[in-house]
Symmetry: C2
Subunit: 242 residues, 2 copies
């Protein structure tokens, strides 16, 4: 079709989750050269066809889902294309193009060891290993930026929580994701905003069971939130920048 040589086409995935109250990224040790043995984002070539010549990936999002399935062993509840990193310099082997995606999953989903044999780990996004290969560090930085940006006016952090959660838990997740304390004085305001936007719905009669203290009402994401992140009304930010 094209008379020109084509760049190699890759998909990398920045998988984010909340672990020990910290926003973390999933990394695995590379199982091949270059940078064999180094911590890196899960990723892989776009498979127009598989090894037997049978059609495989439908589009790049499909590639991302396959990478998550094969290299992490999960199906992520939220997956979004982030940015395409490209150029002659990013990989010593030549001109490449990586359609970077990011995914959000509840912490519990990653508790089990990865399905693959590779060594994997979660790293706090501000304590990454040195010397990440290629532009993986830039990818992570951009993914975190995007998630923080969107979280300040959408229900995106819901994807980091289990199905049932309390409003104090949700408030904490927003604080962790945005890396910004929400002072107790703003609790009322936070609840007002979340409830007014209709991001969540009360689960009638279901309460948390804390070791101590008053139990909290349990909520779930409202039915339309999980399939589609609804932006709040323009003026109503979830958390202000100060």
């Amino acid at each position: 079709m094209s008379e020109y040589p084509k760049p190699d086409a890759i998909v990398d995935v920045v998988l984010l989750t909340l672990h020990a109250d910290t926003l973390c990224v999933f990394l695995a040790r590379r199982d091949r050269e270059p940078f064999k043995g180094a911590w890196a984002l899960p990723g892989g070539f776009i498979h127009v066809v598989d090894k037997d010549g049978v059609e495989e990936d439908e589009d790049v999002e499909d590639t991302a889902r396959r990478v998550l399935r094969e290299k992490v062993g999960i199906v992520a509840p939220y997956l979004e294309q982030l940015y395409t990193f490209s150029g002659r310099k990013r990989d010593d082997r030549g001109w490449t193009l990586s359609v970077c995606h990011f995914a959000l999953v509840p912490g519990a989903l990653l508790a089990a060891p990865a399905a693959t044999g590779a060594e994997t780990a979660l790293f706090p996004v501000d304590m990454l290993p040195y010397d990440l290969p290629f532009d993986h560090e830039a990818m992570i930085a951009m993914a975190v930026r995007r998630v923080r940006g969107k979280s300040s006016y959408t229900s995106l952090p819901l994807f980091l929580l289990p199905e049932e959660f309390t409003l104090p838990e949700l408030q904490d997740v927003y604080a962790r994701v945005l890396d910004k304390e929400i002072p107790t004085s703003e609790t009322k305001s936070f609840r007002r905003k979340i409830l007014d936007q209709g991001f969540v719905e009360e689960i009638p009669g279901r309460m948390s069971t804390p070791r101590i203290g008053r139990p909290a009402q349990l909520y779930r994401a409202s039915s339309d939130e999980l399939s589609q992140v609804r932006p709040s009304a323009p003026l109503a930010r979830i958390a202000s920048a100060r």
Copy 2:
């Protein structure tokens, strides 16, 4: 490097401008199959090397700049990567991947006929020709969405204006881009926001020279705005959604 067949890699550009007070997209008639003769976005293959085997595009943004230079004959003051459209189905010839970009230019820049021989035209974004090839219609829709979204809290529309402009002109551009009347009652509020954010700076002593009515103070984008779109403080939207 990869043992798999690679997808073809393309860059398409959604070039937006204001023409006759309307947000318009630049289209050119295709000069080759498929869809030869149809209106389409300017675009082209990524050139890892040129016809003589010499290195050409450095990265996809470089490809986009080359497309704008070769097919439109301009250097766009604002260029941003939008989204990568991909898959087996979007082009009958096979699995392709188009790293779509969008560009903003002042209307005057496109007044001269394109440098190339191809027939070109500006179409209002809500009056596109039928049967745009591939997913060009989705690309335009997404670009317009992105520009509208960003314009509501950044100085992005400044790139659609000439170097010197008045605040009433700027207000009109915001209204056109957002496709939303800004009532006269909000003029004060609009000026407050634009001025408070520091998006623009007064050009001392320079006034517009209208045929009739009071002349208006001329402004220019503040020095840092043209190289970098600065988002406004989270709570201060330029124009509310109502």
